[in-house]
């Protein structure tokens, strides 16, 4: 935004890497990044558990069992306890995971696509089109993301699809900024000028020449966007404007957990812990990918 002060994108990113990381091939550097591996394992475990877990449990997500309400975890028939209606918490967590992870991945795909298109166009054409687009990005970024999210979510009828759209609408700006910056510098490079000189179309130049060269930062931003999308969905659902009960999502499971905090704290502890695990997983993974794919960003030299 400013001519003098470095923006967040220009400051060295806070990353963690082995000292000699820059001299290793990408894959080995990635494998050595234990936190990234932890993230990847956590994500795989969560995805597999959410996909298969509910089939293995004797309880349905909506099976109400009023005789066994508020069963504490780790004792009795419900592994993670049961809620105010006697529903099994573990099964609900896994099913909620399906929704929350789906929203996370779908919103990531959508926001990345929007961000890439806007960033490509703005960076490629520059001029007043580029300025106008990037000012628009700046303007949307001046709203705190949650304000924007809630404004949209409160006014549109809530559902998995609308929440995905809304989360994506509040998360595309960073991708656009990254892509715009990269494209603007890449299109001055020899290979881009050469391609332009032999007369390829703008679309070819953008999609076939420039885009492949900026895949690394896009993949990193997309991974971090999954984390962000899961978090945003949980905020909206927690505040009652996201996924609506009885469909469980990690956020809305916490919706009325606060009133049972004294009597049944596990209802609040477990869903939040799973959100934290998932989001941490994607953040670690994104960070590791950044180290692996883009050694130039390595601040540790």
């Amino acid at each position: 935004m400013s001519a003098v002060a470095p923006s967040a994108a220009e400051l060295p990113p806070p990353v963690l890497a082995a000292p000699s990381a820059a001299r290793r091939p990408a894959l080995r550097r990635f494998m050595r990044h234990r936190l990234a591996m932890f993230g990847l394992v956590a994500i795989i475990v969560l995805v597999v558990a959410c996909a298969l877990g509910p089939y293995l449990s004797p309880y349905g997500p909506l099976t109400i069992d009023l005789r066994h309400r508020f069963q504490p975890p780790f004792e009795g028939r419900h592994w993670l306890g049961s809620d105010q209606l006697g529903r099994d918490l573990l099964v609900r967590l896994l099913l909620a995971g399906r929704i929350s992870l789906t929203v996370g991945f779908a919103a990531m795909g959508l926001s990345t696509a929007v961000g890439v298109v806007i960033g490509l166009v703005a960076g490629f054409y520059g001029g007043w089109v580029g300025t106008a687009l990037m000012r628009f990005v700046d303007a949307v970024l001046s709203f705190p993301a949650i304000f924007l999210l809630l404004t949209l979510a409160a006014l549109v009828s809530p559902g998995v699809l609308t929440i995905t759209l809304i989360v994506a609408l509040t998360a595309w700006m960073e991708v656009a900024r990254v892509v715009e910056g990269q494209v603007r510098s890449l299109r001055e490079r020899d290979f881009a000028i050469a391609a332009e000189a032999i007369g390829v179309s703008d679309a070819h130049l953008m999609l076939r020449e420039l885009l492949p060269n900026i895949m690394a930062p896009i993949v990193v931003a997309a991974t971090l966007n999954v984390a962000r999308a899961i978090l945003l969905e949980s905020y909206a659902s927690y505040l009652g404007y996201g996924i609506q009960p009885p469909t469980p999502s990690w956020g809305n499971m916490l919706n009325n957990a606060q009133e049972y905090l004294t009597s049944a704290p596990w209802l609040a502890i477990f869903p939040g812990a799973v959100i934290t695990l998932a989001v941490t997983g994607f953040n670690f993974l994104g960070d590791g990918l950044r180290d692996a794919l883009d050694p130039r960003l390595d601040v540790h030299r």
């Binding site: 806070p14 628009f136 609040a268 934290t276």
Partner: protein, 316 residues
């Protein structure tokens, strides 16, 4: 300098106009609208609804509604709440202080401890402490704020019984101590939002400075390591952090909204949620504008402070 200030002011103004258009467009193009609130009132007829819509000016074309709203805003009139006809600006200001108290106290905490953690991480790079701080910052960025709030309430209010679980005051108790006890938990929770980012950038900035020639020179001429660290390195490493502080503002405001909800703290975040669920458009719009104004102003001040604080920067 004057030209630079004017240039940045102009930029911010353009952004503010864009922000107002986006906000207004979002609010008024979404289905539902403020009338859906009245539509639920028993005995409401279609004719009355149409008359209400006309009275509130909602039946006119959007650009005209926007122009009128913006015109009033320019004259200092932020409109009136649909709910109780109070002036919007007065409502916002009455909720502003509670939010500011939360934001300022948590920012101070985050800066003090974040700087300490960041500096420690930079001078003992790859030590166990640095490693733990890195992991801690990443986890801190990943924890949902509202859940962290719930856990804190469980630990300190339910389990230990040390601190109140919400609100700003105990009824009938106006002492400072009572207020402080209410502030502790929300402040801690909001600190989590910023301290992770702050400590990471602080560490990166410190690492950058430590590798500079003037630090080597200072060390080579035999200054005590501590003096080099504080007087030479830290002072310079803190400079870019001014910008980081400015850029953190949207996150901080958003975090305040969530924190206020968990702790029933009577600030702008609570006001925002209440107004949204009541479809009180003038207040929602006012809050969107107000928060954008705070953010843009924060960035502007940060950029200007940066120029003032760092005499090496010459403005063209």
């Amino acid at each position: 300098m004057t030209r630079y200030v004017l240039h940045r002011l102009g930029q911010s103004l353009v952004l503010l106009v864009l922000v107002s258009m986006i906000g207004f467009g979002l609010l008024h193009l979404t289905p539902g609208g403020p009338l859906s609130q009245f539509a639920l009132t028993p005995g409401m007829s279609a004719a009355t609804l149409a008359r209400l819509s006309h009275q509130m000016g909602l039946d006119r074309p959007l650009p005209i509604q926007y122009a009128e709203w913006a015109g009033h805003l320019l004259r200092g009139d932020w409109g009136r709440s649909y709910r109780d006809q109070q002036p919007v600006l007065a409502i916002i200001v009455s909720h502003l202080w509670a939010t500011l108290e939360l934001m300022v106290s948590s920012t101070l905490l985050a800066i003090i401890f974040g700087t300490w953690v960041g500096v420690l991480g930079a001078i003992r790079r790859y030590s166990l402490a640095d490693y733990l701080a890195t992991i801690g910052a990443m986890v801190g960025l990943s924890i949902p704020t509202f859940w962290f709030g719930l856990v804190m309430i469980y630990l300190f209010s339910v389990w230990l019984g040390w601190l109140p679980s919400g609100d700003m005051y105990t009824n009938g108790d106006a002492s400072l101590l009572d207020y402080a006890r209410h502030l502790v938990l929300p402040c801690l929770v909001l600190t989590l939002v910023t301290i992770a980012t702050w400590s990471r950038y602080m560490r990166a900035s410190m690492l950058d400075v430590i590798s500079q020639d003037y630090i080597r020179t200072a060390r080579a001429k035999g200054l005590r390591p501590r003096a080099v660290l504080i007087h030479h390195a830290l002072r310079n490493a803190l400079l870019p952090m001014i910008t980081v502080a400015g850029l953190q503002l949207p996150t901080l405001l958003g975090g305040a909204l969530v924190t206020e909800t968990v702790f029933t703290w009577p600030g702008m975040g609570r006001l925002f949620l209440d107004s949204i669920s009541y479809r009180d458009y003038p207040v929602v719009m006012g809050l969107l504008m107000f928060s954008a104004l705070l953010v843009l102003l924060g960035n502007l001040v940060a950029d200007l402070l940066y120029v003032v604080a760092d005499p090496r920067i010459r403005l063209a």
